[in-house]
Symmetry: C2
Subunit: 170 residues, 2 copies
């Protein structure tokens, strides 16, 4: 059966969902569920998002952190996760390096600066679950926290909100 | 690198995670992330869970509802989702029937009674993301709401809570 619920078919084909890149080279993004876009009522104030993303061979996410935890499941491919678990007080500092692989799962703790990349020879497919909140990006691992760029409102905020919310500072 | 965070390695192999069945025949369950088990701090009061489940050929979940929305991604296999979108006030009533398939995604609305099953010839693999709260099960689609069984505390509640929380009633 094919009925519409809140303007969407209940069951959707992931390969036919709209894709975006957030202007990150090599990133492909689809929103599977989102508090604002798809009406997850219980979660509306918490910005719960379920995302499917692909990093093309050799691509990488920005070095960033956010004030929410983030759970990952790698569906296909392998890559590297860089993560600062014991940050220098002024800048992220040298991150730990973790191998991530097909069928691996990990949870990025709140405000730990991190970055994922894919190897040069293959793409990395993963699904992520997060309570999206403030997101800060770094040019490198030694950029002071105070200089990190706050990306807010972001992509879907810009679509959904009429008035930007109040910014917070580190 | 292989370091422990809160007693767990940061990156875990999903195929080596503990598996359970919640006593549902044909169900295999692994918790990828959970508010109580894995310390998703932001979410602690909201019971956020990320689960990977498999239904063996011909298996089905109980007919149930819960006071939270639930997002699904089918990783492999196909099956049927039964869902009551306009419930009879006294019992669930005849459900709508939706085909679910590999790479499909769907969001079960709050308190809609639902059931998923796998076909006789193959298993169904899916990942689900939910704010777990009260869960009620039905013996069939015409069992009165007032007779539905409240399963609370559930599996992991029983492990994690020392004192059961207050029950609510329909």
């Amino acid at each position: 059966m094919w009925i519409m619920i809140k303007g969407f078919p209940l069951v959707r084909n992931v390969s036919k969902l709209p894709q975006g890149s957030f202007r990150i080279p090599g990133l492909s993004h689809s929103t599977l569920a989102g508090s604002v876009l798809h009406g997850m009522k219980e979660a509306r104030h918490y910005f719960v998002e379920v995302w499917l993303q692909t990093l093309a061979p050799g691509a990488r996410t920005p070095i960033h952190r956010h004030s929410c935890e983030e759970a990952f499941l790698v569906l296909k491919g392998s890559g590297t996760l860089y993560l600062t678990t014991n940050m220098h007080p002024e800048f992220p500092g040298n991150p730990h390096e973790f191998r991530i692989f097909s069928n691996s799962t990990f949870l990025v703790p709140i405000d730990d600066v991190h970055q994922a990349n894919s190897p040069l020879y293959s793409p990395l497919f993963f699904i992520l679950f997060l309570f999206f909140w403030r997101r800060f990006t770094y040019d490198d691992w030694f950029m002071p926290h105070t200089a990190a760029k706050l990306l807010f409102p972001i992509f879907w905020d810009a679509v959904c909100y009429q008035t930007p919310l109040e910014r917070d500072e580190l």
